[in-house]
Symmetry: C2
Subunit: 616 residues, 2 copies
Amino acid sequence: MDDYRPPVDDHRFLLLDVLHARESLQPLPAFAEADAELLTQVLEEAGRFVGEVVAPLQAAGDHPGCRFEDGRVATPPGFADAYRAFWQAGWPSLSCAPEDGGQGLPWVLEGVLYEMLSAANHGWTMAPGLLHGAYECLKHHGSEELKQRYLAKIASGEWLATMCLTEPHAGSDLGLARTQALPQADGSHRLRGTKIFISGGEHDLTDNIVHLVLAREPGAPPGPKGLSLFLAPKFLPPTLGERPDAGTRNAVVCERIEEKMGLHGSPTCVLRFDDAIGWRVGEPGRGLNAMFVMMNAARLHVALQGIGLLDAAWQKADAYAQERTQMRAPGALRGTGAADPIASHPAVRRILDTERAWVDGLRVLAYRTGVELDLARHAQEPSRRASAQQWCGLLTPVLKAVCTEQGFGGASRCLQVFGGHGYVREWGIEQIVRDARVPMIYEGTNEIQAIDLLVRKVLVDGGEGMFAVLAGLEGEMRASAAAERAHPHLHPAKRQMPFREDPGGPPPEGEGETEAVLARFAELREITKELVAAAALSDTLAYEAADDYLRAVALALFGWAWWTIARTPGADAPRWSQPAAAARLRILPEFDLRLGILRTQCAALRNTVPPRLSVA
Amino acid sequence: MDDYRPPVDDHRFLLLDVLHARESLQPLPAFAEADAELLTQVLEEAGRFVGEVVAPLQAAGDHPGCRFEDGRVATPPGFADAYRAFWQAGWPSLSCAPEDGGQGLPWVLEGVLYEMLSAANHGWTMAPGLLHGAYECLKHHGSEELKQRYLAKIASGEWLATMCLTEPHAGSDLGLARTQALPQADGSHRLRGTKIFISGGEHDLTDNIVHLVLAREPGAPPGPKGLSLFLAPKFLPPTLGERPDAGTRNAVVCERIEEKMGLHGSPTCVLRFDDAIGWRVGEPGRGLNAMFVMMNAARLHVALQGIGLLDAAWQKADAYAQERTQMRAPGALRGTGAADPIASHPAVRRILDTERAWVDGLRVLAYRTGVELDLARHAQEPSRRASAQQWCGLLTPVLKAVCTEQGFGGASRCLQVFGGHGYVREWGIEQIVRDARVPMIYEGTNEIQAIDLLVRKVLVDGGEGMFAVLAGLEGEMRASAAAERAHPHLHPAKRQMPFREDPGGPPPEGEGETEAVLARFAELREITKELVAAAALSDTLAYEAADDYLRAVALALFGWAWWTIARTPGADAPRWSQPAAAARLRILPEFDLRLGILRTQCAALRNTVPPRLSVA
């Protein structure tokens, strides 16, 4: 079983050559030092760390996985040492603010780092993955005293953190949460209740664990508006007379860890708060709002998990397909031996090229969103911050859903390349498939993401935000085409017409692929308008159409992503042109399928409304 | 965790009311007694046995699963008792010939039985699942002496059987197999080699195990034509002086069982043949041919596993969705409490209705194919046997691939209904997803099925067989429409127009759904012709197009399946009309997607061929 190898050259190509991330980021005062050399250096260092330290622990994460005994969790062999090396090297604070001890680098680098980490070892990566949200939450909403005590420790990763939201009867609907927070005379609260599905709720990786807990104060209204956020550490701060490094154990009890389909390297804990001491973070009744600050970044993290897991599965399948020989390939693909590498067989080629196309196209969308997240935080012009915020608000749910769905489904298709060998543990591919299933669920199920996109983001402004994002991309495409016309010798990829819609049609005029992207944008605008109109007539339509709409948005943008890859100098190499062809032939036609379903739904509604009115 | 409950009423409705299986089967002399009462009674008895005896062992199949020690396999607690009850009740021989001790009932009943069994407990079902192929193989190709010794024991299920085909370097390409068969003076052979992925290669369910082994005699040509089939029992027949019930152990050694993603209830063995004694079954060099006799039935078995697993997953998801309350549903779907059952939320409704539509539509296709398998064996007119054989040859690879893909993918979507609870072991849904992954691989990977369909079945006769199947269905549709016109009061479903293509279009004339099915058939004929023409110009096109072609065939037939359900009296109940609507809105549009991909491929070829020719 081969370990995952971080494909740093691909990351660099997509981030710097395709997306021009340096040109977007370095002009910001916060990132004045982030030149191409620094960005490349961070990617290379990250790749080295992930490949050498984290990737070799992948199998141990699955077996033996985490063990639970007497309220304690033992992480798999090697996990604690690797985590110590990780935080001591400063990786957790890569994009934290310098005033909190962070390195102040762009978030998008953290995003790529976490893609690599998830690919190498999803279970291990869950532990540090949660500290970033806690950092943002505390930074923006914590009192000075709490920040003083906890912020630097969390930023550095010396202490890990959890998000304690879910309860047995309150999952997607956190408003049903019942955990109580009883105020004390000293300003602290006593937390009482049981939280489930708490990743990293207990472990042996760090000296302390900082829990952020949603709970309800006495007299708070029912529903989400009655929830406040509290910080409850595993070990309380030392009081007078205690050694500074030895606080008292707080009353947070790990009752058990779940037996799961996969992700055995991450302990999923049931935590009982037995009048645990906690302090409120932010205003009473604003617990959910306090968490919104980190939601885009956290969901983008999950999207990058999906991409990483798919890339890890792809690497394994590709390596196996080069080695394994079975049957002779047809026609000119045939070699001279009794059997050819299965990578030469069209059935396997199809899987490899299509999943490669998914990884690359989704990377472009996710990295671009990472750059926008940096712009939303650090651009100087308020209008640029606002447009970046708009991009992130719209794209984040799309990416969370699409990347995690492809992470699981695509990993399963990569498993298929192994035949029966894929179903046994030996090759490590079935572990990836099992691990990849849960990102479709956590951090808001993919169905919740679709509702977030259509109901909460698109319908509320009549589609204006979505139209603005599309118009922005169209503007970039025009600018890019103009630049190409000025310097045609720099753009050999353009002559390959990698995006020509109908390879059987007449010889291209040179702009066929551009027109196809623009046509999808136009159709997306049309259906958005139709949905806005139809939703005014029906309370349920948007909920019924949400998943197909999210998928249509994703595919329209995916077409743009490959358009922009294909026009980058160097993209005419088979490494990029083969998946480009697969994207065109096998992935993008789904856009029309989704549009058709959405149109049918809108039309059905138009047809049923008049009779209803006539009854009234 | 609820056990699976066999939905016998649904089975009866589809088999008798929708497919009129009795009218097809009872006229055959072999099934003269198979009236509606008998067929119903068998289904009910099967449902009772499966629900009471096999379903409760599902969790034990996963944990502890099978255990291996010192060459022996211990099956999970309860498995052996259940298996004894199964064969003693006569279930294995349901469709075996009366002269072999069988009950001589239609194969389609065995098919439904195995769908139920796989749904209840896939791991347990693997054991008896393999004896049917061995029975057919031995019955048609074994010597009188071998049949005398083994046929009745296999038919009754007193002894189980295996198929020993795969070797470490020979999976999809069995022609690479190296296991040797050295002829002995007494007419027996000594088998030497290692076979892998042998389901039930060793276990404690029966007193003896009969292995059917592909091996190569000295001097045999390389490749598939050098392979012969041999029978090697775990215990040799008693020789003079031995007790009749105590033969000598043959030199077949179980080296280990595989650690798999799922299906832990079925031991997947590495078997070493250390000069094991075996006897040839059939002619030398005809080993693969000897196995073809059972291939359609075996692949149809696997298709039914996919359907069963999906139905089991659906039952769990449906039950959970009725119980679990989260958030208020939108609009008129809203109840009066603080939260509604998630079954009322459109996002969950969509999953449940769509997967329900898949189960029901695929059942119609699989059961119909089961009836055709019976006709292929027992119809009196040679022409009817031939047309039934043609149906089975074309439909079996389609069903094997589509049902197992949906079994896994659909089970995963059912898991999504549980949210985070689906990812933990407790509810049993993640076990179904893991178990359901392997049918996409074994008995010929789904990619091999697609090549079998397009290259080996469709292209070889220029599409004539496929056209005949479509024409046959069109004839049935005309006849059925004529019968409805004669008795309109019997056909309320027709007035529901469940198959109207465009719900937003003008009021239907009454035949819209019929036209949609016929239009898909016409498009399928066209693309088949295009592929036949294009394949003549390219050695690789058929291999590149095979998966999309299989999918297009499946969807065209799936449309017919729901057409025929929807026109059956009783099908206007929500139980059937809700999934019918989901099939129309969400499943059938994929037909156009696949057609589009196939057309693009054919067109690309037309465009590239002339330049190639001009170079020559």
